[in-house]
């Protein structure tokens, strides 16, 4: 009969209309909680209806591999030996693999000897040109440049805000472990240490010279291979790996993490105020 196809379609529209309310009733106030499984209920494979995330009051947290304008890793302030030091050795690879060529690096020179030192003097990324491809992070041999998760970079003046210099690019190593615990853990496995490659090498050298008298080869505690924890447990319970490794960044307590998060929020607010004004 003419019109049945139409009516069938409209029934479906009606069902879609109802589904969201059914979901609302089914999940009740859990909709407003921020526990892990909730979003999954409403937006995951189990959901029937739709959910509205009230951006910018609420946000969908991005997955670990998400990539946005890169940042440079510097050692945490509380690092015993390398506090505030760049992980970048100014090897130049990221500048070469960058497809739109938006990375500029000035290699540092020792003022006394004039020899190059493994730390960049200046580092610029033009974020207007950056295409967020992630190559710099992927091919950096020192894990010194990483893709950020902070995507709210809009400003009113591109000429003054959109060329990120070293100061603006630098973020502590612990920030990376916060936003991407699983990846940071995998990278640690490849490096064999939570420390920077060079720092680990130096420590090894130091240990070797201290043992110079003795000929027996000692197992090297500083670069011990990965403790037997899965990415899961490491990410979920940082303390577990902390006990395995002693004074690693994982041992820090929650208060400190909170503090850092607060600082990140402040920085963000400041930036917003700057670009807004």
């Amino acid at each position: 009969m003419y019109g049945t196809g139409l009516a069938k379609g409209l029934m479906l529209t009606l069902r879609h209309f109802v589904d969201s309310f059914v979901d609302d009733l089914r999940y009740g106030l859990r909709k407003y909680s921020h526990a892990t499984d909730n979003f999954g209920l409403r937006q995951g494979t189990a959901a029937k209806g739709v959910i509205t995330v009230q951006y910018p009051d609420e946000k969908v947290a991005v997955p670990e591999r998400f990539r946005f304008v890169p940042f440079l890793i510097v050692e945490d302030e509380d690092h015993p030996t390398r506090s505030g030091k760049d992980w970048c050795t100014s090897c130049g690879i990221c500048a070469k693999v960058c497809p739109p060529q938006c990375i500029w690096i000035v290699r540092g020179n020792d003022p006394d000897t004039g020899r190059p030192v493994p730390e960049p003097e200046a580092f610029f990324i033009d974020i207007d040109i950056c295409m967020n491809c992630g190559y710099c992070a992927e091919y950096c041999p020192f894990d010194a440049i990483k893709m950020d998760h902070d995507y709210e970079l809009a400003s009113y003046d591109r000429t003054s805000h959109h060329i990120h210099d070293k100061e603006k690019l630098s973020k502590p190593a612990s920030y990376w472990r916060d936003i991407a615990p699983t990846r940071a853990y995998e990278e640690m496995l490849v490096r064999g240490t939570w420390e920077h490659k060079d720092a680990a090498k130096e420590a090894r050298r130091g240990a070797a010279s201290a043992r110079a008298g003795s000929r027996t080869q000692q197992p090297q505690a500083e670069v011990q291979p990965a403790p037997v924890v899965t990415a899961e447990t490491a990410a979920a319970a940082p303390a577990a790996s902390a006990t395995a490794e002693g004074a690693t960044p994982w041992s820090e307590d929650d208060a400190k993490r909170e503090e850092r998060r607060r600082k990140a929020l402040e920085r963000k607010a400041k930036r917003a105020a700057r670009s807004g004004g």
Partner: protein, 626 residues
């Protein structure tokens, strides 16, 4: 309807590529020679005999489908221009590659439009970007640049605005890399050059006849305008470049007689950025994220075609490891998921075009959203995936699709990846497709709007080099995944969707069937992923180099993308011992070539149908204009 297999329909089609070449050489002994350059294949045909040889290729040997026709400038490497053609049989099999050469000054090669209408836009592009003239072409005008543009930008000696260096990586980025903006070094106004004889005022001229004179549609504006006042019933209508129905900045100039379209000319290039020139400045690796920006609805497929082409070249050298089985399985899964995204999108927006405004498309987008979430968790980006690498991938599937909260009020999630995929493939996507059918397939309004409208016959579809659902909707069971298989498609069980009617509804049906076939493929992929759990995605266990040297030669990598056959013609030449930047990087864009029959498909229908016909072709301007 689904066709189980393609059978060669006559003896001629069974002749192998080698025998075909031998036949051509025996028939035209002085015009056809083997291409003996290292790493090249096919034959070189004397330009003066090209038309005859092409006819023999089509009529005697059965290569009825001209997939790609493109130019290469060998400045400094032989100093000649070359047209490269890839012809296929719609019954399946490999390419017959033939080339014609001409000198760089006053290059001229006979047009192949009389043999394959599909060469029309591609030759116009070669004229526009390389300055090769095609005697015999019915309408040889610029197509991507505007009339009056200075020079032919793909020539090796042409330099773009904000030119820095011939090839990346640029020298000044490291170790003394002080930041600069290109526009500071080369301020606006100095970065464009005009021909010496150009009258800039003419470009401002708004006289109607001049505007339409630069188009080839043969509109006699004078005659139409000559009629007095409102009595005329013939009109010229510009749809676009800013028009919601064109899915981007695209313009169609139509002449209508009352409501009936009497001719239509697509006008494009508004989004042209010379992707190919950028590609030739780039290194091989640099190009992968750029391919994402072609058809930005299905970037996984774009990646796939390009890495296939470069892998073909790399396999000519000694140090090459083909991707592992797990890598291939993940690749196929990703491109099938993006095919689903593409078709849901295409159907949804086509429905918008014919009046089912946004309700259906929003239902489809819910599923697309979940697939994009998955891409984001795996590749790092929802649309600009940049996921495939030469011989591998950016990374294996993560164990969990998970996010951590950085800021207050973050909505976080944490699913098991395989479980998510299983639920998507077995439940959600099939359910969405069922709903789609329930919603629309029998909808009387849809049927009346789309049946018998925008008809393209099978012969025309082949001759105009149509591809993808446009070709299959016209009754030609041609799908690269079956006709010239790549990756692990030969071992997968799926059918080619084909419909005989050639109208908008047939193309819609083809897309729905393809959605189901994609789900069928995905169901076969999941156990393969489980079986290869733990296997590396790299043959030698570690990621590929960032600056591979690619052996000399040419390669044409093609895949069946959502919109049709997507091909990459890549030439490695110049330098010594392999190259680090492609000499030629050409994209055979289905969105671009599928527009060739647009005029033919629209003539005789009503103005209101045009929007739907365009939507049923399914173009994306990032790919059309490149």
């Amino acid at each position: 309807m689904v066709s189980p297999a393609i059978a060669p329909d006559d003896v001629v089609n069974a002749v192998s590529i080698e025998d075909s070449i031998a036949y051509l050489k025996s028939k035209h002994p002085d015009a056809v020679t083997d291409d003996e350059r290292e790493g090249y294949s096919g034959v070189v045909v004397q330009a003066s005999k090209l038309l005859e040889v092409a006819r023999a290729i089509r009529d005697d040997l059965g290569f009825d489908y001209l997939s790609s026709a493109t130019a290469v400038d060998y400045l400094g490497a032989g100093d000649h221009m070359e047209m490269v053609y890839h012809a296929y049989r719609t019954s399946g099999g490999g390419a017959l590659v033939f080339k014609a050469q001409t000198e760089r000054e006053n290059p001229e090669i006979p047009s192949l439009v009389p043999v394959w209408r599909g060469a029309d836009f591609q030759e116009r592009e070669a004229w526009d970007l390389y300055g090769i003239k095609f005697p015999g072409h019915p309408n040889l005008r610029r197509i991507l640049m505007w009339e009056g543009f200075h020079g032919h930008p793909m020539r090796k000696d042409w330099r773009e605005a904000y030119y820095e260096e011939e090839q990346k990586p640029f020298d000044n980025r490291w170790p003394g890399g002080h930041v600069h903006r290109s526009e500071e070094k080369n301020v606006f106004g100095k970065n464009v050059t005009y021909p010496s004889d150009i009258d800039l005022n003419r470009l401002m001229d708004t006289s109607e006849s001049e505007v339409y004179a630069s188009l080839g549609l043969g509109v006699d504006v004078e005659r139409i305008l000559d009629k007095d006042g409102f009595e005329t019933n013939e009109l010229v209508v510009n749809m676009g470049p800013h028009h919601p129905s064109t899915h981007g900045v695209f313009r169609m100039v139509l002449t209508v007689d009352g409501e009936t379209v009497t001719s239509l000319e697509p006008v494009m290039g508004y989004l042209h950025r010379n992707h190919e020139k950028i590609g030739e400045r780039n290194t091989y690796l640099h190009n992968i994220p750029f391919t994402d920006r072609l058809d930005y609805i299905s970037s996984m497929g774009n990646n796939h075609g390009y890495v296939l082409a470069v892998e073909q070249l790399m396999s000519l050298g000694r140090k090459y490891n083909p991707p592992t089985y797990r890598c291939e399985a993940i690749r196929v899964m990703m491109v099938e998921l993006s095919r689903i995204v593409n078709h849901l999108w295409a159907i949804g927006f086509w429905l918008n075009d014919i009046g089912a405004f946004f309700t259906p498309v929003l239902y489809f987008i819910q599923e697309r959203e979940r697939i994009l979430d998955f891409f984001e968790a795996v590749a790092g980006s929802r649309m600009m995936c940049n996921y495939m690498r030469f011989g591998g991938l950016f990374g294996d599937l993560p164990e969990r699709i998970k996010s951590v909260s950085n800021l207050t009020n973050d909505r976080i999630r944490d699913y098991n990846t395989m479980q998510f995929l299983t639920e998507m493939v077995n439940e959600r996507i099939p359910r969405t497709i069922d709903e789609l059918e329930q919603l629309l397939t029998q909808n009387e309004i849809l049927l009346e709007r789309s049946i018998g409208v925008g008809v393209l016959s099978a012969d025309d579809a082949i001759n105009y080099s149509a591809a993808g659902p446009l070709l299959r909707g016209s009754g030609v069971a041609y799908d690269v995944r079956r006709a010239d298989p790549y990756s692990i498609y030969p071992e997968l069980d799926f059918d080619i969707a084909v419909e005989q009617d050639g109208d908008m509804y047939a193309r819609y049906r083809v897309r729905v069937t393809e959605l189901r076939e994609s789900v069928r493929i995905l169901k076969q992929i999941l156990p393969r992923l489980e079986a290869t759990e733990g296997e590396s995605i790299w043959a030698d266990g570690k990621p590929g180099a960032y600056a591979p040297r690619v052996p000399f030669g040419e390669a044409y990598g093609r895949v069946e993308n959502g919109k049709g056959e997507l091909g990459y013609y890549v030439v490695s030449a110049g330098g010594r011992g392999g190259s680090s930047n492609p000499w030629r990087y050409h994209v055979r864009a289905p969105s671009f070539i599928n527009l060739t029959p647009m005029g033919l498909m629209s003539t005789g229908y009503k103005v209101a149908d045009i929007v739907g016909i365009l939507g049923s072709i399914d173009i994306v301007l990032g790919e059309t204009d490149r």
